[in-house]
Symmetry: C2
C-alpha cells in the first residue's frame, strides 16, 4: 500500500542491530528487531565474566529495556531458521515475519577451522553462556584440587592454556593470571602458588598481530610480569584429555584449553545463495547490499565489506550508514557508498596495564589502562550497570578480591 | 592421639553449618566444612531471584570467602554419598574425611508428598538453580506470548499458579504480581494487562498457617490488592500440560505451576539407621545427638528436635548450642539440654506490605515492610552484597523497574 510504513526487520541485537534500531528512531519505518537471546551482550567485557570479576547482568542488558524509548521498534525473541528472500519473509523457530527491508546483523561464532578435537575439548569465549561455563570450570578445578594428594596431578588440574594471542586471548590471560596469583590464594591458604599456571599460545611470531609491533612487545612484557607463559609460533594440532599436541610434535600437559584463535561469520551467511569468504562472511556491495537483492543489507561480522575487520566500530558505523541509506532509498535519493573511519583499538592486560592505538597515539602501561577504563566504562550501556561495574572494579582494585565466585549451574528448563 | 586437635566435620554450609563453623572460631577443634555447592545461599531472598529482582551473586556468597577469618576451618566441596558411622568417616563423591565429631546440617529439600505429576511438571523454589529456572520460565513465557495470535492461548501461557500459602508462596506471589503488573508492561507496551495472571492455592482455610489469624487476613488482603487470585481450601490432585486438577474435581487452566507447599529433611536422614519423621527428619535427643552415637549431631531442618519448626533461627541456635556442647564434652562437662527461644517470624508481600509477628508485637502493612527490610538487609552476609542489594531495591522502589531480566542458560560444562 502506497504511504504505508515500510517494514524493516533487523536480525541480531548486537552492536550493529541495536545501533541501527536506534538510528531509525523517529523515522516512518516500522522496525522489528529479532534475536535468539532476549539480551544485548557487551562482548568486550565477556572475559571478565569468565574470570569471575563481573556478573552476567553487568555486561548484558535486556533488549526490551534498551529499545523502550523507540516508538517505532518492537522486539521478538526467536532463532532464524530460514530466509525466504523471494517472498521477503524471515522464518524463525517461533513464527515468521514479513519485511520490505531486511538487515542481517547476526555477527560471528567461534571458528575451530575444522579441528574436531579443539571443538569438542576446548572452551570458547564468544557468548554469555561460554563465559559462565569457563568461570565454573576454573573455580571447579580449584575446588577439585583440594581433594587431590598428588602434586603433579594438581599441577595438571590447575593448568590453563589459552590458544590465540589476539585481544580476547591477551585480555583473558591477564585476567586469569591475576585471579590465580592475587585473588585465589586468599581463599586457598594451603595452595602452593607454583602449582597453578596460565599459558598463552599464539601461532604467529607476536601477540596482537593487528597492533603496532611495539605494542605487541609491551603486551608480551606485561603478561610475563604477571607470570603468564607466552609461547609464540605455537600451532595447536590436537587437544586430548589433559594434553595438547603442537604441530611441531611437542606435547604440553594442560587441564583446561580455551580457544580464542578465530571467529567466522554466523551460520546465516551460508543461506544467502552466495559464496562466503574464508572467514565465513557473505560478500556485500559498496552499499552493504546483497547482490541482486537491494532490499537486503548485511552489516558487522557477518558481512564481508571489502575485507574490513570484525570489530565493533565497523558494525556500528555500518548500522548508521544503513539507517541513512534506507531513508535515501525511500526518498528516491541515490545513497553514497559506505566508508569506514578507523577509530583505533585497545586491549587490556589486567590491573594497571593496557595497550591502545588511536591513530598516531600509541599508549601502553598505566596510561593505556586508564584510557581503556574510561572508554569501556563510558560504553557500558546504562547508568545503573555502569555504577555496579565501577563498584566491582574499585573493590577488586583496592582489595584484590574478586567478589563473584559462585559455581553455578543454571537450571534446566522443565 | 591424646592432646591432638579433635576433628569436627560439618556437612552443609547453610545457616546451621556456617554458624557452627564461626562459633568454633578460636577453639582447638580442627573444623572441616563440606557442601555440595561452593556457596552459602541466603534462602529468604530466593524468591527475589525467581522474580528477577535480584541476581544470584547478591544472595549467595562463596563459602571460602565467609570462612576466611577462621584459622581452624577449611572447606571441601563435595556431595556426601555415604556415612560410615562405625569407622567415623564421611564418604563424598570426591574423597573421604575422617572425624572425631560429625555435625550434619544438610537442611531440607522440596517435598512433593509422592505426587509424581507435581514433581515432574512444577517448578520448585529451594535451591539457587530453582530460582534461575523459574526466572527464565517467567520471562520466556512473556517472550513466547508475543508470537501468539490467539488471546486465549496467550492467557494460558501467561497464567502462573503457586501452590502453597506459606511464607515462600505468599512472598513469591506478591513479587510475581508486581513484576507482571508494574514492571513488564513497560517492556511489553502491546500486552493486554488482563491476560497475565497469578494464582495462589492453599489447602488450608487461611494463608500463613503458623501466623496469628489477623496477620493471615492482612496478607490475604494485601495479595488481593495486588490482583493475586487466592484460593483457600484448594488441594491439588494432578498437574497436567497447561492444566491443574484439584481434589474437588475442578480444573484450572495454568501454564506454569510453582510448588512451595512443603519441604522434607534432606536425603541424608534416611542413611542414619533410624526411622524418620513424617517430614523426613531424623530424631535427635535433648542434646541434638543421634541415638547411640554421642559424637554425631544433627541440626536444622534435617533434625527432628521435639517437633521444632524448619526455620533459620532454629538451625542457628542449634549451631551455637552444638559449639558450646562440643567444648563441654572436651572439657568433661555435662552439657545442658537444647532450648529454643522463638524470635518471631515475618513475610513480605511485595512493595510496602509485610506481616511480622515478634512475640507480642504484630505488625502489618508499611510498618511491617520497613521491619522486614531492616532485618533482612542487616542479615545479607557481607557489606558489599548489602550495598548492591540496597541499590537494586532502591532502584526498583523508585522506578518500578526490575533491573535483571536476562533469560540465561548457564553453560553446560563446556
Amino acid at each position: 500500500v502506497s504511504g504505508a510504513s515500510p517494514r524493516v526487520v533487523i536480525v541480531g541485537a548486537g552492536f550493529g542491530g541495536l545501533t541501527l534500531a536506534r538510528a531509525l528512531r523517529g523515522t516512518r519505518f516500522q522496525v522489528r528487531l529479532v534475536d535468539k537471546n532476549n539480551y544485548h551482550l557487551f562482548t568486550p567485557l565477556l572475559y571478565q565474566v569468565a574470570s569471575a570479576l563481573l556478573d552476567p547482568a553487568e555486561i548484558a542488558q535486556p533488549v526490551r529495556k534498551l529499545i523502550r524509548g523507540l516508538d517505532n521498534c518492537d522486539f521478538h525473541q526467536g532463532t532464524v531458521v530460514e530466509l525466504d528472500l523471494d517472498q521477503r519473509r524471515v522464518l524463525t523457530d517461533q513464527g515468521s515475519l514479513d519485511y520490505d527491508y531486511l538487515v542481517l546483523a547476526t555477527g560471528s561464532t567461534t571458528n575451530y577451522f575444522g579441528n574436531r578435537s579443539v571443538e569438542e575439548r576446548s572452551f570458547g569465549l564468544k557468548e554469555l553462556p561460554d563465559g559462565l561455563s569457563l568461570r565454573n570450570r576454573v573455580l571447579e578445578r580449584f575446588e577439585l584440587s583440594r581433594w587431590e594428594q598428588s602434586a603433579s596431578k594438581r599441577r595438571a588440574m590447575l593448568s590453563f592454556a589459552i590458544i590465540g594471542g589476539g585481544p580476547t586471548g591477551v585480555e583473558l590471560a591477564g585476567a586469569l593470571a591475576e585471579l590465580i596469583n592475587l585473588v585465589l590464594p586468599k581463599d586457598y591458604p594451603d595452595l602452593n602458588p607454583h602449582e597453578p599456571s596460565v599459558q598463552l599460545l599464539e601461532a604467529a611470531d607476536r601477540l596482537l598481530g593487528t597492533f603496532d609491533p611495539r605494542l605487541s612487545q609491551a603486551a608480551l612484557r606485561a603478561l610475563e610480569r604477571k607470570e603468564v607463559e607466552v609461547r609464540l609460533g605455537a600451532m595447536v594440532k590436537e587437544v586430548r584429555e589433559d594434553e595438547l599436541e603442537l604441530e611441531d610434535g611437542s606435547h604440553l600437559t594442560v587441564g583446561t584449553v580455551i580457544w580464542t584463535a578465530g571467529v567466522r561469520g554466523s551460520g546465516l551467511a551460508t543461506q544467502l545463495g552466495t559464496a562466503t569468504s574464508r572467514q565465513g562472511r557473505a560478500p556485500v556491495g559498496a552499499r552493504l547490499q546483497l547482490e541482486g537483492r537491494p532490499e537486503v543489507f548485511l552489516i558487522g561480522d557477518l558481512a564481508d565489506a571489502g575485507g574490513l575487520p570484525m570489530l565493533i566500530p565497523v558494525a556500528m558505523q555500518q548500522a548508521k550508514y544503513v539507517a541513512r541509506t534506507l531513508r535515501d532509498l525511500e526518498a528516491g535519493r541515490q545513497p553514497a557508498a559506505f566508508r569506514y573511519r578507523d577509530p583505533g583499538m585497545m586491549a587490556t592486560i589486567g590491573r594497571n596495564a593496557a595497550v591502545a592505538q588511536l591513530g598516531p597515539i600509541h599508549l601502553q602501561g598505566f596510561l593505556g589502562w586508564v584510557m581503556w577504563l574510561t572508554v569501556h566504562l563510558a560504553k557500558v550501556v546504562t547508568f545503573r550497570a555502569r555504577a555496579i561495574v565501577l563498584v566491582n572494579w574499585a573493590w577488586e582494585y583496592f582489595f584484590y578480591d574478586r567478589p563473584i565466585r559462585l559455581i553455578l549451574r543454571a537450571g534446566n528448563n522443565r
